[in-house]
């Protein structure tokens, strides 16, 4: 019995170590995501700490071949969702798709503060999809797994979220055009 259990136990210990290592490596990314999605540094701290607690608790029962980084982000997103749902702030809102896409050129004319303000004007799920795909560079499938929705939903949410960003950034575009330079 012990002979059979030993490799399983050692593999679980190794898995737990992997979780600890990935948690330390991803700490900035987790905090950054929580900060962008919630807009609050204090909330982000609490959410990441809660995420770390849940991840350490679940480390032993985790499947060995799991994408640990995506798994940590999934815990974070669920923690954010639970926290914001209690405050009724996790609300899916429809953003109309604009015929013109948000472009890198538009962004180059805006400041970091403008983009962050525009992001905070979006709904929380829309912010989450932008941060996961564009900032954290997850694939569509990974983001779908993290947010527990279909890949197709991620694509349409991303397109709408970018469209939403464009609508908010139009103001800055116009201002820049009027001034003939950067705001």
């Amino acid at each position: 019995l012990e002979l059979i259990r030993f490799p399983v136990r050692s593999s679980k210990i190794a898995q737990k170590e992997n979780v600890c290592r990935t948690l330390i490596e991803s700490l900035d990314a987790l905090y950054s995501t929580a900060r962008h999605v919630t807009g609050s540094p204090q909330a982000a701290e609490d959410l990441v700490q809660e995420t770390a607690r849940k991840a350490l608790e679940g480390a032993e029962s985790l499947q060995h071949d799991r994408n640990l980084r995506a798994w940590l982000f999934r815990i974070l997103v669920n923690t954010i969702r639970d926290s914001l749902k209690r405050k009724k702030l996790w609300v899916e809102t429809e953003i109309a798709l604009e015929s013109e896409d948000l472009s890198a050129q538009t962004l180059s004319l805006t400041t970091t503060v403008d983009v962050r303000n525009a992001l905070s004007a979006l709904s929380v799920p829309a912010r989450a999809v932008i941060v996961l795909i564009d900032v954290e560079e997850f694939t569509i499938l990974e983001a779908a797994s993290i947010l527990s929705v279909a890949p197709g939903t991620i694509c349409s949410r991303l397109a709408r979220a970018r469209s939403g960003l464009r609508q908010y950034l139009k103001v800055y575009e116009k201002r820049v055009a009027g001034q003939g330079g950067t705001p």
């Binding site: 737990k16 330390i24 700490l27 905090y31 962004l107 900032v135 694509c155």
Partner: protein
């Protein structure tokens, strides 16, 4: 696939899109279409620009310390405790299995052992062939049991073995037909009863000439049992098992 479909399939970028059955066709289109390549270059530039503008927020030192402390606490305290708890649990389960397995086996065999002890006791009790019906004619004996048992009693004929008679008896509430024989001066009892509910675990099982046979030496007697059409036949005698086995097999092949 056309441009619109390609942009849908490979959205937001070919390297991050979901792989579908149309992905290969979309990638082929992309290689040949300058407009689509330009579209995805714009998408990549947009992603890059968003990442640059939003930037990475570095976790505050306080948070890093707290999480590191959580990790250290988990590394230091939990694994050994869980490890020993698991080891203790494994050991307890192993001990329980070692103790419980023979006990369960014994408890299962006990009623069977008691039943066959009673079979032997009944054989010993009627050693003088105290029959209710004295007859050496098998058909007379078989018809005598017609209205006495719910199962069909068969009285086999054996060479060099004399049928003496029969009686009805009860073995642990099992109604049984008891047939008396004598072989080479040794009394042989043949019990027949409904096989349902009789536990044979106290006997050893062998398959001889394709016939499953249960046998054992118990309290100085030899027992050989077999099942025929839902009826359990048990031969008991002070003869050896090897002398009883041919009688059991002969009965099996006779009917």
């Amino acid at each position: 696939v056309n441009c619109s479909r390609t942009r849908q399939i490979l959205y937001p970028r070919p390297d991050r899109a979901e792989t579908t059955i149309e992905s290969a066709a979309a990638l082929t289109h992309l290689r040949e279409c300058a407009d689509c390549r330009w579209y995805f270059e714009q998408q990549a530039a947009l992603s890059h620009a968003l990442k640059e503008k939003l930037g990475l927020e570095v976790a505050p030192a306080v948070l890093r310390e707290r999480v590191t402390a959580q990790i250290e606490k988990h590394r230091a305290a939990s694994p050994p405790r869980r490890f020993y708890r698991k080891r203790l649990l494994n050991a307890a389960v192993a001990v329980l299995l070692l103790v419980a397995a023979p006990l369960v086996l014994w408890l299962h065999r006990l009623p069977s052992e008691q039943f066959f002890e009673e079979v032997c006791a009944d054989h010993a009790k009627y050693l003088r062939a105290e029959s209710q019906l004295r007859s050496s004619d098998p058909s007379t004996i078989e018809s005598w049991f017609h209205d006495k048992t719910e199962f069909g009693v068969e009285a086999p004929r054996y060479e060099n073995t004399k049928l003496l008679g029969s009686r009805l008896c009860f073995l642990k509430r099992h109604k049984a037909a008891l047939l008396f024989y004598r072989k080479s001066g040794h009394p042989v009892s043949l019990f027949q009863m409904d096989a349902g509910g009789v536990n044979l675990s106290a006997l050893s099982r062998s398959v001889i000439d394709g016939v499953p046979v249960w046998h054992k030496s118990l309290n100085g007697f030899s027992l050989v049992a077999l099942k025929r059409r839902g009826v359990l036949w048990v031969l008991v005698s002070d003869l050896n098992e090897s002398d009883l086995l041919p009688l059991a097999l002969a009965a099996w092949h006779q009917f």
